[in-house]
Symmetry: C2
Amino acid sequence: MGTAQRKLHLNAFLMSTGHHEASWRLPESDPLAGTDIRHYQNLARIAERGTFDSVFFADSPVIFGDVGRRPAGKLEPTVLLTALAGATEKIGLIATASTTYNDPFNLARRFASVDVVSGGRAGWNVVTTAGPDAARNFGVDDQPAHAARYERAAEFLDVAGKLWDSWDDDAVVADKESGVWADADRVRPIDHEGKHFKVRGPLNVPRSPQGYPLIVQAGSSEDGKDLAARYAEAVFTAQQTLEDAQAFYSDLKARTAAAGRDPEGIKILPGIVPVIASTEADARRLEQELDDLIKPEYARAQLAKTLRVAPEELALDRQLPSDLPSEDSIEGAKSRYTLIVELARRERLTVRQLIGRLGGGRGHRTFSGTPEQVADAIQLWFENGAADGFNIMPPVLPAGLEIFVDHVVPVLRARGLFRTEYSGSTLREHYGLERPLNRYSGALAGLTA
Amino acid sequence: MGTAQRKLHLNAFLMSTGHHEASWRLPESDPLAGTDIRHYQNLARIAERGTFDSVFFADSPVIFGDVGRRPAGKLEPTVLLTALAGATEKIGLIATASTTYNDPFNLARRFASVDVVSGGRAGWNVVTTAGPDAARNFGVDDQPAHAARYERAAEFLDVAGKLWDSWDDDAVVADKESGVWADADRVRPIDHEGKHFKVRGPLNVPRSPQGYPLIVQAGSSEDGKDLAARYAEAVFTAQQTLEDAQAFYSDLKARTAAAGRDPEGIKILPGIVPVIASTEADARRLEQELDDLIKPEYARAQLAKTLRVAPEELALDRQLPSDLPSEDSIEGAKSRYTLIVELARRERLTVRQLIGRLGGGRGHRTFSGTPEQVADAIQLWFENGAADGFNIMPPVLPAGLEIFVDHVVPVLRARGLFRTEYSGSTLREHYGLERPLNRYSGALAGLTA
Ligand SMILES: Cc1cc2nc3c(=O)[nH]c(=O)nc-3n(C[C@H](O)[C@H](O)[C@H](O)COP(=O)(O)O)c2cc1C
Ligand SMILES: Cc1cc2nc3c(=O)[nH]c(=O)nc-3n(C[C@H](O)[C@H](O)[C@H](O)COP(=O)(O)O)c2cc1C
């Protein structure tokens, strides 16, 4: 970074017709966009035109909610990233994959392969996958407990890290004359034996352009933050207020330092759902139009499931019941649960109002305004210890991404907050992070360099 | 097919610098080709220019052999296929994946995604993965027994098939006005409970362009042939002589009929390693040059491992010992074991000669000659009940594929044996196979159509 001004990082969180749950019902939306690769290639190119650091896809190996009501099909994210790698040149490509329902050898190999194919642009959002429905697609009747999922996630990352380092960067000598292809001592078994995994290795893919994919994390519970502090290089988080975001930011930076890492090595990106129009009134009108397309009965059923109450207990025009369970008893997505309950209580929202707020961004902060107002909102958090950048979640796609790229990005650039062109070519370079050393040979390589 | 002449099918089996184990040592070979996506994109485009039905990649989740001696890195095949989908338009794309070291929900989803992204060009070569080394990357000390692997493979295919059919083709209604996205009755749990798997479903990807990927199989043991008879639409096989190939062909067609399927619905493709030059003598010289680059000590160690004897028991200039184990006692790749032993005995090969033959194609038939002679060899088997097509395994890549496309394909076309352009756009259409009906709604759809 040197003496240059600190720069903002922007990630485009892409999701079928947009983050607003009713976006598919707009006249201009393609309801089959969720599995249309050309739709995503178009979005990735728009984000690349806006010099975003990366695009990102959430994922769970299950259908969420009711296919009768909401678009449900999703391409497998490593396949999706690969298809986007061919359609773009610079932008980073981040896919979500579960440590609970994958196995380290196959998944480490898949991400290494995406990193190779994309020329060093792969990132992995490491999640533990809440909910019993996903478990049932893998022969398990209920989700493993929250703590057990995070324990497995940590060991999964250890195994994956060893596999990615199982080849030295310069292991391949390719001496045709003598017939020696690799220096066999520099491609080593990892012989991992732990509580959850026993893996011999080495990986059957050489060390990839970035060494390994950028490690991203997105759970904000206590266990989630501890995992992030140990392993993550970028963190997505849902924060509703500047104060909460500042508290989260300083807490996570402190935990990262306590884990023996440089707090600069972890980039914190809260989500924002920007509803943008040329006047504030138009932006609010747009938001209202979208909210009016939400089916309240269906949304109430979803909310009831998250809160673990019966739908009838949630009267649409009353506030939440006061006797909801505490976060401790939640085995699913702990931090999202707490965020929703606190949002409703703080703003004294009725169930109907809460549904509107969640329909826009599932707990992420919605912000309606002009391009300048959106840029102001971003700058305020960025300059006040709440964010290293943002996870941009357009309510409607492609329109919401286009308007952000064409009208907000120029403002951020003019203020000197955001790049005007890519200076690096790997995802880690975009985030201003160093290529990781190899744990087996890296220290030595560093000493002799 | 109607009254038109029966047409040959050609699959290009692609592998880094070529199938000859010493191909990487040639001056023109790129020893890093195995993980170079541009290399594979170039190969796929050459095969597409030659109107091949498909390209194909073998795979195992482990490093085979000695990285010191042979190129070892391999991109994960579904990632590789996706990258090729973007670089081609018509050609089919077949990847190998193991039923022993994958899980049905994730793998079914990945192939469905590749089928979507490629517009209906995906195929899956279903293998059970022999050998203890692969097992050790998945927490298992030795491979499961041969029969157990095939039993799991059959159930895996049942589960995957149910998941692929869990959405009706017309499940998505996308009625924006009423807010109904899909007909929820036409997206159904599969509630599979079997010996190896318990999977609720539905899949989180809608039914793909082909319904599901083309099912390919490549094991030739008794269990392997039975699996193929039940599920496979194309079969790769290693056959050394016309008589053996005819026996395999009629056996597998009969098993397919006995399983209640149309024997036309399974295409049998023996492998051939064509060493092509403008004269027969030049072709033989080329083959000899390649064989001379093989390191006999290393190849002997590999052969000893396959035969389950100590390397010292294989004297380079003598025939195989007569007291080798029988196929029954082999838990790895049974049919390949038998093929190697029979080849050596039939032709009274010394170990050194056997190593040369295996180095060319790992047990597949090597054929050296002019383009016309290669076409003759293909035609002979095709017209005499030994093959529906061939698995073309160029000894050197890209050169060996280029020469086949530019010099053998025109001969086959001139003889009316092979297409001059693609008539279909999906992989199944290339192989002259019907799009499968949906097992849950297909029969009904057929009745009402
Ligand atoms: C922007 C963002 C994206 C996320 N994407 C996913 C996802 O794709 N899949 C998933 O299982 N969890 C995802 N999560 C995490 C969940 O929302 C939830 O926090 C997590 O499952 C459990 O975290 P916790 O219990 O540590 O809070 C995401 C979180 C954020 C902030
Ligand atoms: C052309 C061809 C390609 C094959 N590719 C693979 C492969 O990629 N991975 C694999 O595990 N087995 C592959 N096999 C199968 C093995 O060679 C071996 O036959 C199998 O593991 C066990 O089969 P069997 O015991 O039924 O003979 C292939 C076979 C053929 C003929």
